[in-house]
Amino acid sequence: MIRIVGALAGREIIRFLRQPNRVAGSIGQPLLFWLFLGSGFSPTFDAPGLEGVTYMQYFLPGVLMMLMLFASIFSSITIIEDRDQGFLQGVLVAPVPRVAIVLGKVGGGAALAVGQSLILLVAAPFVGLVPGWGGLALILGAFVLSALGFTTLGFAVAWGMRSTSGFHAVMMVFLMPLWLLSGALFPVATAPGWLYALMIVNPVTHALRLVRLPFHMTPGELAADPAYLAALAVTAAWLAVCLGLSVWRVRRVETGVAPHRAPA
């Protein structure tokens, strides 16, 4: 089981590294986003509870979330081509537990997302975000959790889709808004009522908190912060639900309809 998950995850990573354009794009795009948007907005930015934080500092966790979202989309989109006409056909008829198929795909995609996030994290000290060692460990944990959350979400959405254009549509009307309404660009607290409600039920908001708060608070403070603990619970629940959904979808086999229309 572990060998199978490892082999399938390894395949994702090898494929990624063999596409230099993808490697450059996946880091370059969020970096540019961050630099341009971050410098364009006013540097004096006061979010409630985060006084003295510049927009460059505020936006970095948001950009990390965007990176994970795109990494997950890239990893999921291959499912659509692979499943009916490609590599996954062979995996599906192999005597492997269906959970291993999900974990392999998702594990590989999440590992890539975490790797890319760590590279981007190197930029943090340059804008004055210097977490302690404990904070760094918590941030790494948040990376793993949210990367897995995003890739399982992508997996659950992409599995069963027949065309990549359909997936693009879902991405634009469903996945992108999840990011936009996560507090990545503007704080949740200052949003108008209806938007606030949407943002607070959005799991990405909570995953983002897991990444953002350790930059500004010590592990001790976080352990006593109900918002942080709630975020941890919500993100974990998000991951569990999507994982369950993915496994359920992989287990489901396309079935013929009742033969009442078949000829005598």
């Binding site: 082999a7 063999r18 996954l88 056909q89 062979g90 013929g256 309809v257 009742a258 078949a262 000829p263």
Partner: protein, 325 residues
């Protein structure tokens, strides 16, 4: 090894397309150790049957037993016995040949030692030696297909399902692959079910199944199938086929079938062809462009059974394949 009983599969329809019955009440038994070739016109339901056998499609009705296990109740037992080559490629193009084989071996729980030991037998027939570290997307289409075939030989399946495995292979590598397949099949007492449109491949099979419109039309040894068309047949090429068709039928008092521009007298006993040929020439010399006595091959059998001839796309088969609502 495979037992199918009353298998029916109806694809659900969508807004514009009505439900489509791709397999209809099909029963089939393939005993262990048999090499069975499945053939039939495009869209006759062969790939659908394969997807059912692989467990990636649940049929509307019917029972499937593979290696003694009920496919729907104990899918894992069936999967372990199974090796599959799909009609569309299932190798990862961005990985090298060796990486593909290694990944496949891992999925089937083979260790590195076993993989190394079996690499030889899986590859000896192929042209892949010396190209193991090349990425699959840099191989030609036929060589990529060979990777696929090598992959499935690696796991030594008890039952091998191949859906048009040799499409894209040149005649030499096709023959080498089939030879390797037959040898391995005999050595390991492997059961093989393979679809093919190439009748030369069916000649070497133990039995040939012909499907059309989701039904099993025939299942027999190549020899017995040939006998259905008779030992010999007379093929007449005419200047004006319509005219000669009627004339021949009348003067010979036999059934004359027309396939494109060819007229055929099928179902002749051994040696009958010559006398008939003389008679045709004596009575219709001027209307005949050429005449030949042929031993029917499986292609003729296919044409005979399915009523489909190459020159006439909308034969009776096309109508039979419609689903009456």
């Amino acid at each position: 090894m495979i037992t199918l009983q009353g298998l029916t599969h109806v694809y659900p329809g969508h807004r514009k397309t009505p439900p489509h019955a791709a397999v209809r009440d099909l029963s089939l038994h393939v005993p262990a150790g048999e090499f069975c070739v499945l053939t039939g016109p495009n869209g006759s339901g062969k790939s659908t049957l394969f997807r059912i056998l692989c467990g990636t499609l649940t049929p509307s009705a019917g029972r499937v037993e593979i290696a003694g296990a009920d496919l729907f109740r104990q899918p894992d037992a069936a999967r372990r016995a199974l090796g599959v080559v799909f009609q569309s490629p299932a190798v990862d193009k961005q990985l090298s040949v060796r990486e593909n084989l290694r990944l496949h071996a891992t999925l089937y729980g083979l260790g590195r030692g076993t993989l190394a030991a079996r690499l030889g037998e899986a590859l000896e027939w192929s042209d892949l030696e010396g190209r193991l570290d090349q990425r699959v997307d840099t191989l030609s289409g036929g060589l990529a297909r060979q990777v696929e075939l090598a992959k499935c030989l690696l796991t030594r399946p008890r039952l091998l399902l191949l859906d048009e495995p040799t499409t894209g292979l040149d005649p030499a590598s096709r023959m080498r692959f089939l030879k390797a397949l037959h040898t391995l099949q005999r050595q390991r007492d492997m059961t093989v079910l393979m679809t093919s449109h190439i009748f030369a491949e069916a000649e070497a099979a133990d039995r040939v199944a012909v499907m059309m419109g989701g039904h099993l039309l025939a299942l027999d040894s190549p020899g017995a199938l040939r006998d259905r068309v008779g030992r010999e047949m007379l093929v007449v090429e005419a200047e004006a086929p319509d005219h000669l068709h009627a004339a021949l039928a009348e003067s010979l008092g036999r059934v004359v079938t027309r396939h494109g521009d060819e007229l055929r007298l099928e179902g002749l006993g051994r040696g009958d062809g010559l006398a008939l040929l003389e008679q045709v020439l004596a009575e219709h010399r001027d209307a005949v462009r050429s005449v030949a006595i042929r031993r029917p091959d499986l292609e003729d059998v296919f044409v005979h059974i399915t009523g489909r001839d190459p020159g006439d796309a909308a034969g009776p088969a096309a109508e039979a394949a419609e689903v009456p609502s």
